[in-house]
Amino acid sequence: MSEIVLEGRNIVRDYHVGGGLFSAAKTVHAVKGVSFKLEKGKTLAIVGESGCGKSTLGRILTLIDPQTSGELLIDGKAINIARDRVTSEMRRKVQIIFQNPYGSLNPRQKIGEVLGEPLLLNTNKTAAERRELAMQMLVKVGLGPEHYNRYPHMFSGGQRQRIAIARALMLSPSLLVLDEPVSALDLSVQAQVLNLLADLQDEFNLTYVFISHDLSVVRYIADEVMVMYYGEVVEYGTRDEVFSNPQHAYTKTLFAATPKSDVDSIRARIAAKKAAA
């Protein structure tokens, strides 16, 4: 059994809303006690509908927001950013890729600066070394060195997402949180970016936490699947277990709601239509 990179023990996140002059304070339980373990080099997919707490969980894993209670272990080390400062060593272990590639790049930073920033802040590399590394990374994600001096607005959505992936990989993290990384892209570009992610996972032995609501994408990339519903984990297991034999009623509904495009189901649908007519 290989090493555990990421472990969550009963992670809880509550939001306090209201509490102003005219309304009483309310507590929203966004994540209600989530536990999981993730091995190195594997992909955990977190699936669920909008507002089920999957992005909140992603932000906790990336050390952006603190958890209200519960334990988060990265490489076996417990971390709680509400209590202690995040060291640059910790920063280097976890990176995130966002859903919207149009908002995730600073419009006033050239691509070279976007890629160099993580190195500038966390390492002692010289400007020349940073540039060299950034150039190499651009080639790795399928762009070219000629893109180094361009601004984000000169790129398409798929290219921007490649840049975002390159930025996340600059510090060679062991864990990458992908918050719906392909749902803002069109289908052909989705496939390209997914293939890129799969290639990079093999090359750098990365561990992915893949947040998505698209089950066909999840089936393609995931090793393990966690289904969330209103902040709770309703199903957790390997991809084949979950997809072939869903246990919870919500998971079954979720699978039933996925459009089927294989030949048999299309034939059945046409036959049903004819019968009705």
Partner: protein, 303 residues
Amino acid sequence: MSETTVHGGVSTDSSLRRRLAEFWYYFSENRGAVIGLVFFLLLVLVAILAPWIAPHGPADQYRDAVLLPPVWQERGNASYLLGTDAVGRDILSRLIYGARYSLFIGVIVTSIALVGGIVIGVVAGYFRGWVDTLIMRLMDIILAFPSLLLALVLVAVLGPGLINAMIAIALVFQPHFVRLTRAAVMSEKTRDYVIASKVAGASHLRLMFKTILPNCTAPLIVQATLSFSNAILDAAALGFLGYGAQPPTPEWGTMLADAREFISSGQWWVVTLPGVAILVTVLAINLVGDGLRDALDPKLKRS
């Protein structure tokens, strides 16, 4: 993608000179901005060289040449190109010397208001909470006063004079910059690229001034250029009330105020020329501001 040329033809030099060249390329596409800049630079030059190019001293009175019209009119005198005022001072010379004061007032007032406003506004918009509430209520109080009245009170406390008037006007202009900056910072702060920078380990200071602030400059530049002209006008108003530049000083606004009695009489040049000087200067600065905004905003750049 199969790129074989690794460094071919693509300059990766991001030195200051290259960035300036790039800036100039986009700035020069806006013809109005270039005209404005040329005029503004000429004005700066005139202000610097005033003692050498002005035909007379700014306070010299020629008793035999009171209220002479400009040279192209009847009775005009070639040694007073733009005529003389009620006590026989050469208007051209006074305008040339006045450029010094007006530019000085504009630059200093705008700089103080801009720098102070940006720092306070970024802090308020970034940290929110009680810091924000405290700052914004304070700014609301300043905004609640009529601007000239508040400047008058401040000058009355500080004592009359050009420097104190400038400080007072800067304080009065500050809330506009604070509000603009805060609003822009608040809308930028929640964007994903800021969070990405944070995940990359950027400190609060870096996030505030390096990541967020450059994305908030466009409205600030426009506000700054408008303030530049407003500062000149407000300083003139204070001068008129006796709290700004003191009489022999050839400040444009003070000249305008002194010539008030000639508005409806035949001596149009005494009151019109300082007004035209203010108008053209303000227009030029606004044009430059427009060009700056276009050149500094990468979203408007055409690749």
